[in-house]
């Protein structure tokens, strides 16, 4: 598949933003003494999440042929994961706004439920994004069972590192850092397992199946057109697939190895700065590369015809 920059930016950045909101929501909802946080701290977390998700969503609009009609995309939530994603994204934003809005009820009463709702909505948005890809039958690499946990994991990893990098009380960090360490290791294992699986399993259908003659062995004699067309450019992307192995190594280094080192240093020195900031930037770059590979390496069944 063609790795469109707009879509990769969108899934990476908004994934980080919703991951951040998911952690923030969990921390306020489940953490001890709901309002005993530096208000400034979680306000920044809320703001950073909003900035990241907004950049992501704006980037995704570049991918559209008619971005001004995007309001129509909220209507088909009954069948379309993309529509569900739009609805969930707006719902999440509404909850985030409510969390800082001056409410008639004392904040202590609504804070925990609102935070829990924020976490649920953020998770819903991440899952909807993943399902846009995981529901497409013609792209077997995206139908893989590890795709959904992969999206959730990357959002938790990049969002969690960004959240931990913001000013946090020491007890929270003491709890969060080992969790992030385990999560990073788990994501490295998950991605290695996914790459192994998609390498081992090429397309389940053959060219014979594609032309309705499953028992024959067809080879291309003449293509229907001499130049590229939309299908060959969008679905038949081949450039740099040969560098995939190197890209995988870089991606693993960035999203797993370096963050693990940084988190270990943060634990050892018991000082989050600058280690968690470096870890966050590395993980986002690693996730970006991983997303590029997710697109570039996925083969669409229509390539069978070519």
């Amino acid at each position: 598949m063609n790795p469109a920059l707009s879509v990769i930016l969108f899934t990476t950045l908004s994934g980080t933003g919703y991951g951040l909101w998911l952690w923030l929501g969990l921390r306020i909802a489940l953490g001890p003494r709901a309002y005993d946080f530096e208000p400034i701290g979680w306000f920044f977390a809320l703001l950073l999440g909003a900035v990241l998700t907004t950049i992501g969503i704006v980037a995704s609009l570049w991918h559209l042929g008619k971005p001004l009609r995007v309001w129509r995309a909220f209507t088909q939530w009954r069948t379309s994961w993309m529509s569900r994603e739009g609805v969930m994204a707006v719902a999440t934003l509404a909850v985030a706004v409510l969390m800082v809005a001056p409410l008639p009820i004392p904040h202590e009463i609504v804070q925990r439920p609102l935070a829990a709702l924020l976490a649920v909505c953020a998770l819903g948005t991440i899952c909807s994004t993943a399902m846009i890809y995981a529901s497409l039958k013609p792209i077997p690499a995206w139908r893989h069972p590890l795709v959904l946990p992969g999206y959730i994991g990357f959002a938790l990893l990049t969002g969690g590192l960004a959240f931990a990098a913001l000013p946090q009380p020491t007890p929270v960090l003491r709890f969060a850092l080992p969790v992030l360490l385990v999560l990073t290791i788990a994501m490295a294992i998950l991605k290695l397992a996914y790459w192994r699986a998609i390498d081992a399993k090429p397309l389940p259908q053959t060219r014979g199946d594609a032309i309705g003659l499953p028992n024959r062995k067809p080879s291309v004699f003449e293509r229907p057109h001499t130049e590229a067309n939309y299908l060959t450019k969008e679905m038949g992307f081949v450039v740099a697939r040969k560098h995939a192995r190197k890209m995988r190594v870089f991606s693993l280094l960035l999203f797993a190895a370096l963050p693990i080192l940084c988190i270990a240093l943060a634990i050892a020195t018991s000082r989050p700065w600058p280690w968690l900031d470096i870890a966050t930037l590395c993980a986002i770059c690693g996730a970006f590369l991983e997303r590029w590979l997710f697109f570039a390496q996925a083969k669409h069944l229509v390539t069978l015809y070519y």
């Binding site: 559209l64 008619k66 088909q76 994961w81 039958k137 013609p138 229907p224 669409h300």
Partner: protein, 247 residues
């Protein structure tokens, strides 16, 4: 809108005969010609006379070489394969659409794009394993085969012209149009008679269009004994008799 309508009784579609298709591209060009000015038009081209020209087409004719198959005693052969929208009964291109632009008509099963609602997210083209949808970068919307909906219901046209442009243009009558939901229709009878197949049925999209596989070729046995060395012996009548008796 994006939810699928209940299965229609009428299932308009195409039956394409792979035995008689000669790969002349008449279906593709006549489709382009009709639809460039029809309801799907303009069927835009980019840099048509420049380097790297590109454009939207609803029909693409592929040509393949089939390897000889020992199990069925089929010799190697070329096969021309016209590819277009199959107007599936459960098309994912419709259900994935976030705006309702992509829809399946309840009355006859034709799958269409409402270009006024399409946001050009391209998701429908990702969801189609048959490559039936092509995006127009010029207009920013998705395009697809309409089964010439503006011809087949056009009562200003003579009855005989109310068929998809590709069907009418085919010089070898390799394309047939009709109601595949009606078991008594000509197309359904043709499918039954020739063992018509749906493409990749295991994916579950339930294509309406059917492809008629090439008729079995006479096997290589004949070809080897019928070669030039034998042809030298005897006159034309003897060789002809020999060939008939051998069957």
């Amino acid at each position: 809108m994006t939810a699928l309508p209940p299965p229609s009784k009428k299932k308009l579609g195409l039956v394409i005969d792979l035995d008689t298709c000669v790969g002349c591209h008449a279906c593709a060009t006549s489709c382009k010609e009709w639809n460039a000015g029809g309801i799907a038009g303009p069927l835009t081209d980019e840099r048509p006379y420049g380097k790297d020209p590109q454009g939207v087409w609803f029909n693409r004719v592929h040509s393949y070489e089939l390897e000889a198959d020992a199990a069925t005693k089929q010799p190697a052969q070329t096969l021309h394969f016209p590819r277009s929208c199959l107007h599936c009964e459960t098309p994912a291109c419709v259900t994935v659409c976030p705006t309702g632009a992509s829809y399946k008509r309840a009355e006859d099963g034709i799958v269409l794009v409402d270009e006024d609602k399409c946001i050009g997210c391209k998701l429908c083209s990702w969801a189609c394993p048959y490559g039936a949808r092509e995006y127009s970068h010029v207009e920013g919307v998705m395009k697809k085969c309409t089964l010439c909906v503006d011809r087949i219901y056009n009562d200003k046209l003579d009855e005989i012209d109310r068929q998809p442009a590709c069907v009418q243009a085919c010089p070898t009558r390799a394309r047939h149009f009709g109601d595949l939901g009606d078991p008594d229709s000509d197309v359904s009878k043709l499918v039954a008679e020739r063992g018509g197949v749906a493409l990749m049925p295991e994916l579950g999209y339930q294509p309406v269009n059917r492809y008629l596989p090439p008729r079995p070729r006479r096997t290589g046995d004949d070809a080897t004994t019928d070669d030039a060395s034998q042809a030298d012996t005897g006159n034309l009548a003897q060789r002809w008799l020999n060939r008939i008796l051998k069957r």
